[in-house]
Symmetry: C2
Subunit: 370 residues, 2 copies
């Protein structure tokens, strides 16, 4: 398994050793990132974007890579995150396989891929690694930390671990702690990968690769990333043209099944299975309440910001709306001028990747008032 590094990616070395929250340390590790816009002379116009589980650092086209990025509609000159005004940094998460060091990277101690020898990865490690990128750019204080989904967890960890280093925060479909429904879903995804004989305790290669486990994991992911309401309108009971029933009596028959199969096919060989396991588990472990005496609200209120925006979607079953409301309530209790934006997008958890008509104005409005 190789890493998937887009052209134009920049790198910065992490301090070595880089101690990890649950013990052990990384040596000679690096972080991948990309930037847009120009850092102004006061270094006060920097925005950090922390991503969901699978994206790379290429959030949008830039000089190093003119290809469209995963948040192309949101980021660029004149767009909601306006790169004429802001200097934007997007970081590939520590533990991922898209440039930053992770289980698919070479362990300098052995010259082989880490695989399961990679130390236990926590959301907090990923947040500290992202901060190392910001430090390397000489940025003392971020104008805003934006975190989507898993990135919303990382952003809260970032703010808790680095007080005073950000003026504001936008939390997009994030959560201050993992709850049992999402833990159950992720546990099941990991189990499907681990049960695949080709996973082989992490020692797979391109010939013997856990395609089946990754396919189940991804399909289950997509089911929980979208919403029943969206699919009723989008797929209904539409059947595929050719059923091919004779060869495979339980094979694909409905359009929604083909949609899932297509998503899985695009993912299975584009994301390293061990990295997936590590990142998935890091979300289950995350609980901001660890920074107080188990009280999430108190932990959120201990984060000091000028302004905050928490956005959620009513149809999100994976990071349900009450989790974004909790973030808003907690940050407001900490003194931040806070806006809570519950959106009516039908697309569920993934709405921030598609429903730009709703997300764009909320984010651009917040940044305009900054």
């Amino acid at each position: 398994m190789t890493e998937f590094i887009p052209p134009g990616t920049q790198f910065v070395d992490l301090p070595s050793p880089f101690p990890m929250k649950r013990g052990d340390a990384l040596h000679a590790a690096r972080m991948a990132f990309e930037t847009w816009g120009k850092l102004d002379s006061s270094r006060g116009n920097a925005i950090l974007i922390l991503t969901g589980l699978s994206p790379n650092a290429h959030a949008a086209a830039n000089e190093g890579n003119p290809e469209a990025g995963w948040w192309e509609a949101m980021l660029g000159p004149g767009k909601p995150i306006d790169t004429d005004r802001w200097f934007v940094i997007c970081v590939n998460t520590l533990g991922s396989c898209k440039g930053s060091t992770g289980p698919a990277s070479i362990d300098p101690a052995t010259g082989e891929q880490y695989r399961l020898a990679f130390p236990d990865l926590s959301i907090e490690d990923a947040a500290r690694a992202a901060h190392a990128v910001i430090e390397s750019l000489g940025i003392e204080r971020l104008a805003c930390v934006i975190g989507n989904s898993m990135g919303g967890m990382m952003a809260l960890a970032y703010l808790a671990l680095h007080p005073g280093r950000a003026r504001s925060h936008i939390n997009v479909s994030g959560s201050a702690r993992a709850l049992p429904f999402s833990i159950a879903i992720r546990s099941l995804q990991r189990e499907a990968i681990r049960l695949d004989p080709n996973w082989n305790h992490g020692s797979y290669d391109d010939e013997r690769y856990p395609d089946n486990g990754m396919r189940i994991a991804r399909k289950l992911g997509v089911v929980t990333y979208r919403s029943a309401m969206e699919w009723d309108g989008r797929f209904g009971r539409v059947r595929l043209d050719s059923e091919c029933r004779e060869d495979d009596p339980f094979g694909l028959e409905f359009e929604v099944e083909r949609y899932l199969a297509g998503h899985a096919q695009r993912f299975v060989r584009q994301f390293d299975p061990n990295c997936y396991l590590y990142l998935s588990r890091s979300m289950d472990w995350f609980d901001l309440a660890e920074y107080t005496d188990g009280d999430v609200m108190k932990a959120l209120a201990s984060i000091k910001l000028e302004k905050a925006l928490s956005i959620g979607v009513r149809t999100d079953i994976l990071f349900p709306l009450q989790q974004q409301e909790q973030i808003a309530d907690g940050l407001r209790a900490g003194g931040a001028e806070t806006e809570f934006a519950p959106l009516e997008s039908p697309q569920g958890h993934d709405a921030f990747l598609v429903d730009f008509a709703r997300f764009g104005p909320v984010i651009s409005g917040f940044l305009a008032r900054l």
Copy 2:
């Protein structure tokens, strides 16, 4: 794989051949059922219960089997379905492995288990087979057909296929057609079973048995049968006492994972995998609108009843509440005096199996007015 037939089960032979909706026919097939109470001289006090995917016909203790049944709290003398007044029949679904003929039964043509040679199974076949049980008991007109979950689909098929044969209907967390979210979930469950090398295109035995596929399927089922809200309160982030992390770095860690594992363990060897595949697919295929020109409401309105009750649960993600509201609206449009009961149970789709405080009074009230 053997069948799982509780003691005291009664049997009735199906007409032979018994033609199936999608072609082919069963020969020398039989139906398993149990009864409670006494049929009165006018034969007017009979209630038929059609079950969800996995239950047997043993809904409650009776003379043949004093063990508690799967709906013990709902059914018996003085209970919401009062067997002092009603003669109650519960049928094991055609295609199941708990007494009625299904893919795990012996094919008389070969002397071997049907396995994948079992004909395509539709909800309508199961409804017609249940009707054969009612005919064999000399019951001309049922006082009520009660259907839970998949049984709610079967009940609607029963009513559509046998006009005038029931006075009333209670639909519990059912649906008039499968929608894409639930199709996606079931498709994924079937894929997990089919991917297990031990499934072996349906030719497994006790030594080589698709435990892994069945475990994933069942866990995913349980995730969709309950609700995030219930689990937040029930499990929160409680961890298991002993983590045993060294042996299995991605093993069970949270209480919710152990809960799922326990459910799976109780199911995997107690339900035949091929039967599971057939019953699961029959739900995806079900669309009451086939009986009109594709209009579900028209199909529901063509069902003629004196009274109807449709019960749903707000936290149900698998058969969402709007589906039970649709059933109520459609049956009302057909002239039935109809009650729609949206319940606030936190337990999701499975609430009817546990939340007797809410379900009991609604059902007993309806039956009292019959």
